[in-house]
Amino acid sequence: MDKNLNMTGQNRLDALLFDIADEENMKVDYAAMLDTVYKKAAARKKRTAFVKYGSMAAAAAIALAVGGLWFAMNGTAANTNEAAPQAPEFMCGVDSGTADCSGLEAAFPMDAPKPAATDAPAEGAGDMSDTAAGGDGELRSTVMAPGLADECGLRWIAKDITLPDINFGAYYDVTKDDADGFECIVYGCTEADVESYMATIATMYGTKADGMTITLDGGITVTLALEGDVLNISARG
């Protein structure tokens, strides 16, 4: 009898909590949040494009100034009977047209319009320049994680599983290592670090990754998740 009363009490508490949860959930404006997601994502893409192409334009301006100075100091006799050099490859300071001066052409095109925001990287291929930490996405830290010897690797002790050592990022923390799972957080990573690390795991175990997840021998599943510049390495199985 007591057990039945307990079950009924539990059911009522469950029903009450679900009901309250539904009521609270009705107050959340998910549509407005989605709208904000799109707006913020679009704003960040524009900012990324501005920073990226602005940097290229600044670099081109510096190269132009240096090239102009060089010609002023060295090129007077050769240029007296010719028109001023126009082609980007000449501005690069080489004789042939085979040098890759696409950066200059992009910044100072002869006929084409200036690069627009639509030239920004596609979604999902982001360069991390809008990370929470404010990094510009171009820096790659090569600092070895503290306390990690070259040959140790990362080890899930409970299941005797070894992962490649962490030789990227600023530092790392192993936050879980027991029979239920393994988790490690690496700070200061880039997308390239993560892709490289996944490729290393795949090579180590002779298996193919499925996106950011890879299944090792014995049914162990390793997942890499990058948010901003923080990488979560988790293993289950």
Binding site: G9, R12, L13, L16, M33, M212, S234
Partner: protein, 167 residues
């Protein structure tokens, strides 16, 4: 990823993300911010998410959400739990009226009791009742066994029942 695909993911998981964030931050505005930021990240990695199974997407979103909460709070505390057996839950049926007769004040009291739960219990309650996740999903995302989730839920409900009896 097409817009409709992303919106399907948003529709499927926004509730889970929001209440998971609320469970940690205990703030509607912070939970909203974290939810938005989580799905902004999802937009950014849409190409990768497109190839993932639903369970993987769910786990990825949850992990991003929790990490963003950690950034907001600077540190996430998780209470260490013992292996003691779950306490007996509600014994006196009369203390819990039917849902239909619970008034606004009583609902507010229950809501407050949930807010006052210790962190790990509150998060578990939020994920189950508010985010709508099953115990198995919660266990997978929190990296614990289903038994641990059930144990935490039993303790949470026992605490809620006791808190309601006192008021």
């Amino acid at each position: 990823m097409a817009r409709w695909e992303f919106e399907a993911i948003y529709k499927a998981f926004s509730r889970m993300v929001y209440w998971a964030a609320y469970g940690v931050t205990k703030s509607e505005s912070d939970a909203g911010d974290v939810t938005q930021e989580t799905f902004i990240r999802a937009l950014k990695y849409a190409d990768k998410l497109k190839d993932m199974e639903e369970a993987q997407i769910k786990a990825w979103l949850y992990r991003v959400c929790i990490n963003l909460c950690m950034d907001n709070k600077r540190r996430l505390k998780r209470e260490q739990l013992s292996d003691e057996l779950p306490e007996t839950a509600v014994e006196n049926e009369a203390e819990l009226p039917e849902v239909s007769v619970v008034n606004a004040e009583q609902r507010r009291m229950i809501r407050q009791a949930v807010e006052d739960l210790p962190d790990i219990y509150r998060e578990t309650v939020m994920l189950h009742y508010f985010s709508g996740l099953q115990y198995g999903d919660i266990a997978a995302m929190q990296g614990v066994s289903e038994g641990t989730v059930k144990s935490r839920m039993a303790r949470a409900k026992a605490k809620l029942a006791k808190a309601l009896e006192r008021r």
